[in-house]
């Protein structure tokens, strides 16, 4: 083991050295500097040539800065924006030059060492002073305060142009010795940097101003952070606070529509199971393409990804969309989401309490056919099928006369509104020695199902992030977190009941005498309410224990060399208890009025009794890193690291059950009958591991030319030893064009061009397919006893290896008008090779081979993303509006196809050349109005009046499977925009998002048992009175091959989130209660649909994957307070 470790370190250093060499070779030419030391020379003796034509003052300063070693220090407000200077100087002294400018602009200049301070000129003519190494040192002190006037600890106070500086203490005070004419700069993350002239003052107090842009400045990239302006990759990031605007208990849902290229689809909504699908930039493989989620440096730390994290713990979420994800190598081909949790800061203890209480009600429910429409639709169908109609005139009269009323089963089974609550407390602060962030939160959600006290979800999250400054240069972090989720549902699970309810026959009553305790069995399948009244339930108890220790040692006297390491141990356990009991429904004798309780059975593969399942797994991650950060000559910035990581994942599971109970009073195993025939058990374990060497080298020249290399070598245990290692290099470069002289600074605040290229891996495939193996099954019953069976798991494929995606990205970032208007554009292309797929389509079935995955597929995916925003501040009113849009198109470039003897048919039926998710469909061109018409032209033997008419794609006069074509069902466009504003104490956030180009399809059948459908379908289906109907006859109306009929483009735009708050701070009354800040807010999630093209059909929320029955998407209305002590 020891030897191994040393070898690994050696290997690591090799990577680092190679990276460094490559970088040096490429960029030595940039190291040459034209600037000599001008520190001790008078500006009278420094000559330069300058050509100014209608130049702004700022441009002139920038130009002079570029030609000399001086830098100008000034407040933006003193420079007249529209002032233009035109002049030409040939080898003129800098002093004269400044005098000329002073005279023409009303500015004064004071040269202090290498800084030229700019001020308003109160005197006539020009004003220029010069101080070189002659100034006396003075001691200054003061207090740095935040926007509320509270002391700001940890703010940095530096004399500009020097290395003299300090940071403020816990109360925001500082002391510093500087030369008397210094300009001091005060900076703190999240605030605008202030510059103040000392001017012989001994006390300098500064109140800092919040800077919206600054907040976004630091971006978390893989294994490090970078300034937004220095990014060379397509990485987008949001602050944790943005995610807290939505009162969702699922963090992922809160991110919807906020970031371009991050596609989140809320396909399910039931409490505890509302885990949305996350996908970055669409699909680039036909395998698992899920984004890799990294929490505080640990990949796949939580099996539920982001979903169940506490939003108040999140400092930032950044999304690595391009080759920058290659630093995460092995499962990064679907992009990487890096979550950073909050840490303690140098400050006094801050306690923050957040509460949120919400009510939820469905965004929309399906408009189901009522009894009359249903009966008519069913009768129409039967008449067309040549059957006698089910419902007689008398039956219909029951409803027209009002003796009976139609039942909307969906509404009957929902009890609204429902309640949701979230409570959160965080404590943070720190000293030089110890910094801490501690939080605890709880969230609970109830069910929308009537009478269902079983269906609920409770979550608890606890986190402690500690940072210790042990000795000089040695830092240690200790993060401990715990999360639990308890979700209970009734025996049938989450949405099956509502799915059924949406299909129930509306002529039946849902309850006897409208009593929700007396549910009927509807049309005799099973009643969700009856089930929820039974003793049976399913319960999942999930717990995740997460511990991480990290150490960083900044090696002294090396100018930035460090060694760091972390180990992380994550223990996940899930205990699931399933009590399955018979349930009862109710019947009433019409004559005697007697109500009877009728036993029924549970459908599905349920076995009565108690079933306990226990799964646990442990994920260990070890990380060692050596790195070097340094800024050479104030111009060449180098950041390098090399690292080693390994991960082991072990899981085991256990099942025990008893299937015979005399009573279900105690749903535990011991309470079952003693006969061991009814005992059941099972168990298994599995094991995987990965090993990784990786590193990165970044270089920039004056933050203008930027270059980054990264490299990763991943070994995965699931492949054969010779196919185990995958190598994933990446490179990216950026050019801050706005730093160039030729760029007019008055228009462009910032312009950056960047490009990236890299390879990313994916090993998400059934493990160990290189081995010939056998698994356990049920064998035959021999001599009245069960025997064990064993089945071959498939032919081994010794060649199976990594799937590799090559990602390229070109991006442009621009901001204008003093950073008020900003824009970011990305074009990307991903080519995926070696996609793991089975050759099921070309290998004949008679070979009987159970095929393994082979590295055979290739695929192309490309698209663009655009982000556009504007922010401004007018006195107390500040606002920001930002929008984003993303699209992608994928194309399969190789897919294993069924060989088709007819090349013409193969040409339009092969998946190769089409997008992933393009099924083969017949193209419906109309509806046969009469039986005679159904005999004309290209048709099929079953065709009759009311049946669908199809296009004869190959022109052979027969409609069959050869006439199917590929239809792309992917979403074309996803977009979102946000508006946030602050005025006085008020804050407002409005998020919108939408999608265009998904497809959905509704069925059009009606059946007597659980065969109801949409009212729209009932009213618009073909029947004898309505031969011009929009929809074909209900029921069988086709050849039995899927067609594109009823397939509609889904397009919607939602007002997703509204959040309005009011904050009181610095209030004397509150201060007495030690409250420094008090915010009260109201918010709404899934507020309303602005636009939904499915509206007329009356289907469910367009985001849900089903059309009729599903746990409804909820609108959440929320009230909460946020108190900081």
């Amino acid at each position: 083991m020891k030897f191994k470790f040393i070898r690994q370190l050696l290997l690591m250093s090799q990577f680092a050295i190679i990276g460094f060499l490559v970088q040096c070779l490429t960029f030595t030419f940039l190291l040459a500097s034209e600037v000599d030391a001008q520190k001790n020379q008078s500006i009278e003796n420094i000559y330069l040539t300058l050509e100014m034509k209608e130049a702004s003052i700022k441009d002139v300063f920038t130009t002079i800065e570029g030609k000399t070693s001086f830098s100008f220090a000034y407040k933006r407000s003193i420079i007249e924006k529209n002032k233009r200077i035109s002049a030409s100087f040939e080898q003129e002294s800098l002093a004269n030059l400044l005098r000329y400018i002073s005279k023409n602009t009303g500015l004064s200049f004071k040269r202090v060492d290498e800084t030229i301070q700019v001020n308003k000129n109160d005197s006539e003519g020009s004003f220029l002073e010069e101080f070189i190494d002659v100034l006396a040192d003075v001691e200054i002190s003061g207090k740095i305060t935040d926007e509320n006037g509270d002391g700001l600890p940890g703010a940095s106070v530096v004399a500009k142009g020097t290395t003299t500086g300090t940071t403020t203490d816990l109360d925001g005070n500082y002391k510093l010795t500087v030369s008397e004419q210094s300009l001091i700069t005060v900076s703190f993350v999240g605030y605008k940097t202030s510059e103040i002239l000392v001017n012989n003052q001994s006390v300098v107090d500064v109140q800092m101003e919040l800077d919206a842009q600054q907040l976004e400045d630091i971006v978390v990239v893989g294994y490090g952070t970078q300034k937004k302006t220095e990014l060379t990759s397509a990485i987008v990031q949001i602050e944790g606070s943005m995610a807290t605007k939505t009162p969702s208990v699922n963090l992922t849902n809160s991110l919807q529509g906020l970031l371009p290229g991050l596609n989140i689809v809320q396909t399910a909504a039931s409490p505890g199971f509302s885990n949305p699908v996350i996908n970055i930039r669409g699909s680039n493989t036909f395998r698992d393409n899920a984004a890799l989620i990294v929490i505080d440096g640990v990949a796949s730390a939580d099996f539920e990804g982001l979903n169940r994290l506490n939003p108040n713990d999140i400092a930032s979420i950044s999304v690595l969309k391009d080759a920058s994800a290659a630093i995460y190598g092995m499962q990064a081909s679907g992009g990487v989401i890096v979550v950073t949790t909050k840490r303690g800061e140098l400050s006094k203890t801050k306690v923050r309490i957040t509460t949120s209480s919400s009510f939820q009600s469905p965004t929309r429910l399906p408009k189901l056919a009522d009894a009359l429409s249903f009966m008519k639709a069913l009768n129409d169908k039967e008449v067309l099928d040549g059957l006698s109609p089910t419902y007689s005139d008398d039956d219909i009269a029951e409803f027209t006369s009002g003796r009976k009323t139609s039942t909307n089963w969906m509404k009957s089974y929902l009890d609204l509104p429902i309640y949701q609550g979230k409570y959160d407390i965080t404590i943070s602060g720190g000293t030089e020695e110890v910094k801490y962030f501690v939080s605890a939160s709880t969230a609970n959600q109830n069910s929308a199902l009537v009478n269902d006290d079983k269906f609920k979800n409770d979550q608890n999250n606890i986190r402690t992030n500690l940072d210790f400054n042990l000795f000089e240069g040695l830092e240690m972090g200790l993060d401990l977190s715990f999360r639990s989720k308890t979700s209970r549902v009734n025996t049938y699970g989450t949405s099956a009941g509502l799915d059924l309810a949406s299909n129930m026959n509306p002529t039946f009553e849902a309850f006897i005498d409208d009593d929700i305790n007396l549910p009927t069995n509807g049309d005799a399948y099973w009643s969700p309410v009856a089930v929820s009244l039974s003793e049976g339930f399913q319960k999942w108890d999930t717990k995740i224990y997460n511990g991480k220790v990290n150490l960083k040692y900044l090696i002294p006297n090396t100018g930035g060399l460090y060694v760091s390491t972390f180990i992380s141990k994550i223990h996940t356990s899930t205990f699931r208890k399933n009590l399955v009991t018979p349930y009862h429904y109710f019947g009433k004798d019409l004559i005697t009025g007697e109500i009877q309780k009728i036993p029924s059975i549970l459908a599905g593969t349920w076995t009565y009794g108690v079933h306990d399942y226990f799964d646990q797994n442990v994920r260990n991650t070890l990380h060692v890193q050596i790195g070097y950060d340094h800024l050479f000559n104030n111009a060449h910035s180098v950041t390098v690291f090399a690292a080693y990581q390994d991960m082991t994942f072990k899981s085991n599971n256990l099942y025990a059950g008893r299937t015979e109970y005399n009573t279900y009073a105690i749903p535990e195993l011991f309470a079952g009958v003693a006969d061991t025939d009814f005992f059941k058990n099972d168990g298994s374990s599995s094991n995987v591991a990965t090993q990784t060497f990786f590193g990165r080298a970044s270089y920039d020249y004056k933050k203008k030319y930027l270059l980054t290399f990264n490299f990763r070598a991943d070994g995965s245990a699931i492949f054969a030893p010779s196919k185990r290692w995958g190598y994933f290099p990446g490179v990216s470069a950026g050019w801050l064009i706005s730093e160039e002289e030729f760029m007019p600074k008055n228009i462009f605040s910032q312009v950056k061009l960047r490009a990236s290229w890299g390879k990313l891996g994916n090993d998400r495939v059934n493990p160990f397919q290189f081995l010939s193996a056998y698994g356990i099954t049920n064998g035959a019953v021999i001599d009245n006893a069960n025997t064990q069976g064993l089945n071959e798991l498939g032919s081994p494929n010794p060649d199976i290896t990594w799937e590799v995606a090559t990602s390229s990205d070109i991006g442009m970032e621009m901001s204008f008008l003093d950073n008020r208007l900003f824009l970011e554009f990305d074009y990307f292309k991903v080519l995926t090779e070696n996609i793991l797929a089975k050759k099921n389509f070309s290998v004949p079935d008679y070979t009987g081979i159970i095929l393994p995955d082979q590295n055979i597929g290739t695929m192309k995916n490309q698209g663009f993303e655009l982000q556009l925003g504007f922010r401004n501040r007018i006195n107390k009113f500040s606002y920001k509006i930002a929008g984003n849009v993303a699209t992608n198109k994928n194309e399969i470039t190789f897919f294993d196809e069924v060989p088709n003897a007819d090349p013409e048919v193969a040409a339009y039926q092969n998946l190769t050349g089409h997008a992933l998710g393009s099924p083969l469909l017949l193209h419906a061109v109309g509806i046969y109005k009469t039986d005679d018409e159904a005999l004309e032209g290209a048709t099929y033997s079953q065709a009759r009046a009311g049946f669908l008419k199809y296009e004869d794609k190959n022109g052979d006069g027969i409609i069959n499977s050869n006439d199917r074509y590929r239809k792309n069902l992917n979403s074309e466009l996803k977009y979102g925009f946000q508006f946030t504003a602050n005025y006085a104490g008020f804050d407002l956030a409005m998020y919108f998002n939408g999608s265009y180009g998904d497809f959905w399809q509704f069925g059009n059948d009606f059946n007597i048992t659980h065969g109801n459908n949409l009212q729209y379908v009932a009213e618009n289906s073909f029947n004898l009175e309505n031969p011009n109907a929009e929809l074909p006859k209900s029921g069988q109306n086709s050849i039995g091959i899927a067609s594109d009929f009823n397939m509609q483009t889904k397009s919607w735009f939602r007002f997703k989130t509204l959040n309005l708050g009011y904050t009181i701070s610095d209030n004397k009354l509150l201060s007495k209660a030690h409250i420094s800040k008090f915010r009260i807010y109201a918010s709404a999630d899934n507020f309303f649909m602005v636009f939904n093209n499915m509206d007329k059909y009356g289907a469910v929320d367009p985001e849900l994957s089903s059309v009729l029955g599903a746990y409804p998407m909820m609108s959440t209305y929320n009230l909460g307070v946020d108190i900081t002590f």
Partner: protein, 628 residues
């Protein structure tokens, strides 16, 4: 200062060391990535462990097509004797929506594109490949050779049976006996073998299996030498049959005769009470040569016999298979006369009187019963008689239309009724009366007005998840070989001997000896076979090999199209004491709501799936009558 720095470094190193040790508790493990999976067995282990190898063999048993596949009773539901109705959404059947494949077949729409809805293809070969691979890997095993011999016999029997099943569906198929290498793409493309080549393989493999299985323990459920003999005999009968023996080569019949005689002499005998054959209590019956048993663990859920065949009234049964009028008419009168015989005494309005005793244990007809019904949890029992109708509309659901002559139905306007009927329609509150209409709801189930009785266990509940309901899949029982022998003897022109075998089967049920001969004897034999072996997956294949598709599968299904209860003449003829019933009358005819039947002789062989032809590089040829 230096000191502190050194301290920092030492601290750093020691902390790292501690961390690594916490993490890698398995420090002794040499390579992190060399993992032996703990959730599966490797090939070396399996083929050198007697028990694991046997497990592999027992798993392969499941590849024998169950009688519940593709429908309970196999393919009986598309023949003339049974009508299959598809269970469309779990509980109730719909007469018009046949299972897609069934519909396509009887309508003549079966094609290379859709044949896999009708019959398996790939699944057979997956099992065959497992067996081929077994034979390759068991070579050189360290397991006791005597044990291997028996396992080889079992595997050989299963592979032979799979080929037998394949060729009776498709005719000649590719005969694959060794493993393919998926990486060698060209080797994957092969052509078909002829019917006789595959059939001879089945025979020769059966011979080998008979030897290899000689020392196999004779426990039920296990493949025995008698099973292998039975497979060989049945294969030879199929080879001699008109479809596969167009020149009527008599040597083929003789070969079948010899093999069948070997089965008859194997020690099995006819069980006295044939109605008890299928039940678990008689599982170890002398009658059974090879059957697979199932219990709560190994069965396919909701494919239980009781679940599939119970008359559906309310939600309680699935009623997948309905006897037809054609079937009902096959039963002779108790005295051996055919119902069409002059003076047989057959009265269509009292068709149940004086019939073959097997009629009453095979067919549930209007007024029969009462039968026990238990709720699915076994808590409630009640008894029901088979249906009658109070209305004239044979298919309608409006059971309450005028005249409201049924005293048990409420008057719609007053709501008065004498029978307590719940608004939840699927239970009746009394224990001795009838279901509200045709057995089933809402009146579309038993569209022939008949339900099956064979295999249903009235002492048990319909189905549930835990109970050990009777489950047995019959593959071979001795009765078949008495009948086979009769068929062989007729073909060989030995009618008297044929009748000896037929009469033994008839005598068991109390039927008198047959007196017919010639064509009439053939017809009597075929009806006898249909009655004895119904729901055992024989009728369809018998029709094919006898080449009688057009007069059986090609004809519309008949049944009772109308049954009428005249309440003005009350009788007690059908009921339990205390009930009041009117007089039933019946109209017979062709069932209205059935899928049209178009027989074509190409249907004697199924088409080979089109994709298989394409994937074979066109080396596989299509059967006659189908496109490509």
């Amino acid at each position: 200062m230096e000191k502190i720095k050194n301290k920092s470094f030492l601290m750093f190193v020691s902390l790292i060391t501690i961390c690594i040790c916490i993490l890698n508790t398995s420090c002794e493990k040499d390579t992190l990535l060399d993992i032996t999976p703990t959730d599966r067995f490797s090939e070396d282990v399996v083929f050198n462990d007697e028990n694991l190898a046997q497990s592999l063999v027992y798993n392969t048993y499941e590849s024998l097509r169950r009688l519940t596949n593709p429908a309970f009773g196999g393919y009986d539901g598309i023949t003339d004797i049974m009508l299959w109705s598809r269970n469309i959404s779990g509980y109730y059947p719909d007469p018009i929506n046949f299972q897609d494949g069934f519909r396509d077949y009887i309508h003549g729409d079966i094609s290379p594109d859709n044949v896999e809805n009708f019959a398996g293809w790939g699944s057979y070969y997956t099992s065959i490949a497992t067996i081929n691979s077994y034979f390759e890997k068991i070579e050189g095993s360290t397991i006791d050779p005597d044990k291997i011999k028996i396992m080889n016999g079992e595997m050989r029997f299963i592979r032979a049976y799979l080929y037998f099943d394949l060729i009776r569906l498709y005719g000649g198929v590719p005969l694959v006996t060794t493993s393919f290498d998926f990486a060698d793409e060209e080797s994957l493309q092969i052509g078909r073998n002829t019917y006789d080549e595959v059939a001879n393989f089945v025979v020769s493999e059966s011979n080998l299996a008979i030897e290899e299985l000689a020392s196999a323990p004779e426990v039920m459920g296990k493949i025995t030498p008698i099973a292998a003999k039975a497979l060989k005999a049945r294969m030879l009968l199929y080879m001699a049959s008109p479809l596969n023996n167009p020149g009527n080569d008599m040597s083929k019949w003789s070969a079948a005769e010899t093999a069948t005689m070997a089965v008859l002499n194997s020690g099995k005998s006819l069980t006295l009470d044939y109605t008890q054959i299928p039940f678990k209590t008689n599982y170890q019956s002398d009658e059974i040569i090879f059957a697979r048993a199932y219990n709560a663990t190994s069965r396919i859920y909701q494919s239980d016999i009781n679940f599939m065949l119970w008359p559906s009234f309310g939600g309680l049964g699935s009623n997948h298979m309905m006897p037809t009028q054609q079937f009902a008419d096959m039963f002779q009168m108790a005295d051996g006369q055919r119902i069409t015989d002059e003076g047989s005494g057959y009265d269509p309005q009292k068709f149940w009187e004086n019939r073959d005793p097997r009629f009453y244990s095979s067919i549930m007809y209007p007024g029969s019963g009462p039968f026990n019904f238990k709720y699915d949890d076994g808590t409630v029992q009640f008894r029901r008689q088979q249906n009658y109708e109070s209305i004239t509309d044979p298919t309608g659901v409006s059971w309450n239309t005028e005249p409201f002559v049924n005293p048990n139905y409420p008057d719609r306007n007053t709501g008065v009724r004498t029978f307590g009927f719940s608004m939840a329609w699927n239970f009746g509150s009394d224990g001795f009366t009838y279901a509200d209409k045709v057995f089933g709801w809402p009146g579309k189930n038993a569209i022939t007005r008949y339900n099956v009785l064979k295999f249903i266990d009235w002492n048990n509940i319909r189905w549930n998840t835990t109970s050990d309901v009777p489950q047995m899949q019959l593959f071979f029982r001795i009765t078949e070989f008495y009948l086979n022998m009769a068929e062989i003897k007729i073909a060989l022109g030995q009618e008297a001997e044929a009748k000896i075998y037929l009469d033994q089967v008839r005598a068991r049920s109390g039927m008198p000896a047959l007196t017919s001969s010639g064509v009439q004897l053939v017809e009597d034999y075929r009806k006898e076979r249909a009655i004895e072996l119904h729901l055992e997956d024989h009728r369809f294949f018998d029709i094919l090999r006898w080449k009688i598709g057009s007069e059986t599968i090609g004809q519309p299904i008949e049944g009772i199209v109308e049954s009428f209860m005249d309440w003005s003449v009350l009788t007690h003829q059908l009921n339990e004491p205390g009930g009041a019933f009117g007089t039933l009358s019946f109209t017979f005819g062709s069932i209205a709501n059935q899928y049209p039947r178009n027989w074509d002789d190409k249907l004697y062989r199924l088409p080979i799936p089109a994709s298989e032809i394409n994937r074979s590089g066109e080396k596989i040829t299509q059967n006659e009558g189908y496109n490509r």
